[in-house]
Structures are given as structure tokens and as C-alpha cells.
Symmetry: C2
Subunit: 344 residues, 2 copies
DNA sequence: CCCTGCTATGACACCGATGTCATGACACCG
DNA sequence: CGGTGTCATGACATCGGTGTCATAGCAGGG
């Protein structure tokens, strides 16, 4: 690879002048500039970031740590793959800011994060983002002075964090369902103990309250159950209970789209048509599912993309030295109304 | 960030001795080593990769270019999101080799690849991988001396490429279906013109031939059709044709799992039970779909993960200076037999 | 005509590692 | 006891850029 010295010699100028042409940080004579630019093209010269980094201690790198990447063995957690959308959005924002993204994953072992941060430190990344695979609280990380932003998770020491607004999302979805004329609204939740479960349940109850519908505990039940290898949708008993109710629900809201997909199958198995006999709603707007299902699924957009964008932007402003206004930012998404819920 | 000089001063030795302790490339006295290690811990010292790169011109970086990342707007192509598994697998292999992965995406514009490669060149990546979102032929890239491996695509000039073995995969699946007792096997293909469509159709025909079943063109029809914004599963007419046949198929093989998901819905809509009245098979083993669908979907594992691993390993051996045996490598996966196809 | 002020350019040191070579301190051997 | 070899360590140059400062050239004003 050609160096700045090669270019300088070829153009008959000093290396410093070549540097000036590249960085436009000082005036350069017209003819000189042309000669240098010609030499650069001829030699296919690319300035070495390594050398530049040494002098300026600005590497142009952002490090991203995630557990999202390594679940390639298919052992997807409750919220599945779509958190990769967060990574995608971050990539785009970072690239737009002229920086390059380095990624690494913990392989599922949370304590490997420290090791990965050491690697990033060697590369002198200017900022770090940690992306979790679902809304959760994490053990605090020690970025040793490098700006750090958390996406889809938070910690106990108030590190800047971007989180999905599960409460508002579920509330908006249920309110919309109510305005479509439903009154008996069942809710098949994600596993208990998850933060998303807690927040979405609250949103569900708030929506009922706001509409003056009394909360009926018989309509709320967990849609997942452990059986062997991790939580998988296992909803048959819960579903049977709901269907056996005197005052049967007219719609079933699911903790996520995967659960809704499974529910479609279980309902078909019982000869119950969606949405004519019962309506179904999901959560996440995992499009491969929500748009491909037949009928297409009404769901709440979790807006992973918005989370990624917000995280990247927050980090970039931290790198730029901005003061941070709010520590935690909630990102919402619209309700995606499709044909799986009847109107009126 | 502390430098090697800080450590040297703290430990009362020369920088070179610190270097020796870090790299273990020359003997160091026991007491000296201990002093240096203590100083390193105390100062939380991390050697600068940038400085190391300058000296050795080995950056420890691998660049990955993809269009896979940027489809975050949900406009998933026919093969959807799962090509991200390739990225995941590459990440893992690269990390295992002690290198760090940089990623960038073209944002859908293929000609941006050159620009991204220039950025990577500035960082002096030691190798490049290009990942396509579906099996395709691409315009040739000019890596200017840096080793390059293509994943899920190939070019006209014989750049090392790792490809899914669509033909063998479809053949194995259909053979397995035949051995389960099926004779009338319909095939709902991906859009015509795609390489995967061509190869999988060939596999389908080979399997029939091998079993002595004559090929019936009435059983093969395209499952996608353009209607407005891009190809989406739109299978109602094709399905009606298949169901109206005198000698109705007992199983429908789909071009991918998404199509199978859609087919479940369409069949339910017609009151036809899977698999009791008709069996369904997919392709890809997109687990969120294949395992969550009810009944779980029989499908062929496209093995994106294997493609990623092979691509990474190929690149690493190119970086190590190995000679390349075969230019193109086909990666297959097993048939995933689940309950959506009846046995006997 | 000389001085001032500006523009364009170059010389040189430095960022933080590591390869090369030199050297001091011993131990061992005849 | 002197020569030789080994071990541990340090001095110094170097990788490829950029910040600092110096300087040559030239125009304009008094």
C-alpha cells in the first residue's frame, strides 16, 4: 500500500503538503493540488487510519457489544431475532457520521463483555454501545472513560439507556382494539418476571381503565411455559381455559408475534376462524410473521429501529462532548392495524 | 489512556522490556516480569493496536460488507432476514481467530461497495467478506490485493465463494418426502429467474427421477407474484389450481418457509387440515417460522451458519497465505423432519 | 525602496508500538 | 584466571501520518 511519502515524491512536494490536500486544512496552490491529486489517484493511495489515530487519538471507530449475534444456534429467547434490527439501525447511523462500526458478541456469556471491551480499547474506539436481546436490567459495565450507551437494557448506575416503551405500546394497542368495539379482551403474556411482561401488562390495564372496562383476571394468563429446553410457546391449556369461559373473549392479545403465530395454529386446530370467530393481536411487528400470516396480524411496532437510531445518536453526541439531558429515553412505535382484529 | 512508556517508567524498565512481557517473544527475568505486570494492571494499560499496526502492518481486522443489514425498513426480499445468520457465524469465527470484525453495508446500493472497501482499506483490514442476501451472481469487486471471499454469491472471475447447495438440499428433502410414501408432490417455487429457484427445481426433478416418478408440470407453479410493492407470497390462484387437479397432490413443497407460513393460512381458509388432508414442506429452516408453526414445519436447513463459518475459515486461511484448493464451495444442510408431512 | 502582511510550502518532531543491534552480567570450561 | 557463550536488558530507528514553527515569495503602502 502506497504511503504519503510515495505520493509526495510522485507529486514533487513534501508529505505535509499532501496531508494538506487531503484534509483541506490549509490553502494549497492550484497547480500543486492538481499534481497531488493526480499522484493519489495514480498510486491508489489511502491514508492509514492507524497512523492518523496515533497522532490524533481519534480512531473513527465505534464498538458494539451484543449477545444478539451469537444466538445462531437457534435457541432464540422469548423475543427472538428482531433485536438485530437495532444493530442494523446503529450501523446506518454510525456510517452516516463517517465512523466505522466494530462488532463483537458475548456468545451468551455476559462476563465476556469485559474482555470484548478490552479488545475495543486496544483499537481505541471512541464510543461503545451495548445491545441486549430483550428489555432487561444488566450488570454494570466499566467502560473506563469511553462513552457508553445501552440499548434495550439499563443498569443500576444510570448509564444512558434507550428502552422500548412497552407500557405505552401495549396501552395504545389495547385502546385501539377497544375503539374497534371489543370489550372482552384476553391477554396471553410473555413469561412472568420479564420486564416487558410487567410493563405491557400495566399498559393493558391502563387501557381498560381509561375505557371504564373492569379488569378480569380470568382473561390474563401466561402464554409461555417451560417444558424441557427453554421457554417455547405452549399455550394449549391456557387457550382452552380462555375458550371455556362463560363470557368468551372476542379478541386475544399476545405477548409477541411469535406467540400469535402459534395461536393461529392452535385456533385452526380447534376449528376457530380468525378473525371471524375470534380476533388476534401480537406485539413487536416482526414483519416476517405479521405481514406473512394469513390474515395479516394486528400488532404494536416495538420499533427496534428507532431504538438503534436513538442509541447511535445519543452516543455520537456524547462523543462530540455534549451534555446529556435525560438518562433514559423511551422509544415507542405505532399500532399496526391489520386484518386479524375485527372492526365493530 | 496509558502508554507503554508510562508502564515502563512505573516498572522502572525500558519500553522494550514491557513489549517483551506483553508479547512473550524473548525471555524476561522473573522479578522484572512481575514488576511490569503489576504496572500494567495498575495503569489499566492496553497496547494500542494503531501503533502495533503501523509497525507490523497487521491490523487484526476483517471487513464485512453486506446488503443484509440495511433492509431494516422491512422490505425483506424473498429470502427474508435469515442471511444475518451468515454474519453471526462469521463474527464468531473471526473472533475465535483473535481478529475483530468491522461491518458496513451498502444500504441497498451495490455501487457503494467500492466506497466501503476504501474505508476498510484505510483501516488496513487483512481480509474482506462480501455477504449477499440471497444466492446470486454479483458484479466483480476490486479488493486491490486484499484477500476477498464471497458468501451466498459468486462472480464471473472466480473469486473464492461459498454457496448454499440448493440442488442437493431440495433433492434430499423431496427424496425424504418420497420415502415417507408420497407420490404426488407439488412444488410452489420462488420467483422465476432466481438462481435458488433454478437449482432447487433441478433438485426436485432429480429426486423424482431417482424414484422413477414422472415429472408432471401441472404440479409446479410459482408461489410468488409481483403485486405492487415487491414480491410477496401471493399464492391463492396457484393453490386453487393445484387443489382442483384430478389427481390431487398429497404434499406441497414450498420455495421457502415464509411461503409455507402463508400456505398454512390459505389452507386453513379453505378448511383443509395440515397434515391430515395435505402435507406441507418448506425450505431454509427459518426456525422462528418452522418451529413455531403449528404443526411444526418439515423443511430443508439452508445452513446459513455453515456458509458463514466456511467463508470465515476460507478467508482466514487466505490471510495466512494458504493456497486455495477449490474456488467455489457448496454448503448443505440436513432435512428437518417435523410434523407437517405425513409418514406413510 | 524598505517594511509589513499574507500565502504557499517545507523541515522536524512526535504519536506508541516493535525489530535490530549492542552491551553488561554471569556461568562454565579448559 | 581468561575466554566464550548465554541470558536479560536497553538504545535507537522506524512505521505513516499530522501539529508546530520557520521561511521563501510576493503584493501593497508609505
Amino acid at each position: 500500500m502506497a504511503t504519503i511519502y510515495d505520493v509526495a515524491k510522485q507529486a514533487g512536494v513534501s508529505p505535509k503538503t499532501v496531508s494538506r490536500v487531503i484534509n483541506r486544512d490549509a490553502p494549497v496552490g492550484l497547480k500543486t493540488r492538481a499534481a497531488v491529486e493526480a499522484a493519489i489517484r495514480e498510486l491508489d493511495y489511502r491514508p492509514s487510519r492507524a497512523a492518523r489515530t496515533m497522532r490524533s487519538s481519534r480512531s473513527g471507530l465505534v464498538g458494539l457489544i451484543t449477545g444478539a449475534i451469537s444466538r445462531g444456534d437457534g435457541s432464540a429467547g422469548p423475543s427472538g431475532l428482531p433485536d438485530l434490527f437495532i444493530v442494523q439501525a446503529i450501523q446506518r447511523e454510525v456510517a452516516e457520521a463517517g465512523m466505522t462500526l466494530m462488532i463483537a458478541d458475548t456468545g451468551g456469556e455476559a462476563d465476556r463483555a469485559a474482555e470484548l471491551m478490552a479488545t475495543f480499547a486496544q483499537h481505541r474506539v471512541e464510543g461503545l454501545i451495548y445491545v441486549a436481546d430483550h428489555h432487561q436490567r444488566i450488570e454494570e459495565l466499566d467502560p473506563r472513560g469511553t462513552p457508553l450507551v445501552l440499548a434495550n437494557c439499563f443498569d443500576a448506575i444510570g448509564t444512558p439507556a434507550i428502552l422500548p416503551d412497552d407500557r405505552a405500546g401495549q396501552r395504545a394497542l389495547v385502546e385501539r382494539v377497544i375503539s374497534a368495539g371489543h370489550r372482552r379482551i384476553a391477554y396471553l403474556t410473555l413469561p412472568e418476571g420479564m420486564i416487558a411482561t410487567e410493563l405491557r401488562s400495566r399498559g393493558y390495564r391502563e387501557a381498560l381503565e381509561a375505557a371504564g372496562i373492569s379488569f378480569d383476571p380470568a382473561l390474563v394468563t401466561e402464554g409461555f411455559a417451560d417444558h424441557g429446553e427453554g421457554p417455547k410457546p405452549f399455550i394449549a391449556p391456557a387457550l382452552d381455559r380462555l375458550l371455556a369461559l362463560e363470557d368468551r373473549p372476542t379478541v386475544i392479545c399476545c405477548g409477541n408475534d411469535e406467540l400469535a403465530l402459534r395461536l393461529y395454529g392452535e385456533l385452526r386446530d380447534r376449528g376457530i376462524r380468525v378473525p371471524q370467530e375470534i380476533s388476534v393481536a401480537g406485539y413487536d411487528d416482526y414483519r416476517v410473521i405479521s405481514e406473512t400470516l394469513y390474515p395479516p396480524l394486528t400488532t404494536a411496532d416495538l420499533n427496534y429501529r428507532g431504538i438503534g437510531e436513538a442509541a447511535a445518536r445519543r452516543l455520537l453526541s456524547l462523543i462530540a462532548g455534549a451534555s446529556v439531558p435525560a438518562e433514559v429515553e423511551l422509544i415507542g412505535g405505532p399500532v399496526c392495524w391489520r386484518q386479524s382484529v375485527t372492526e365493530h
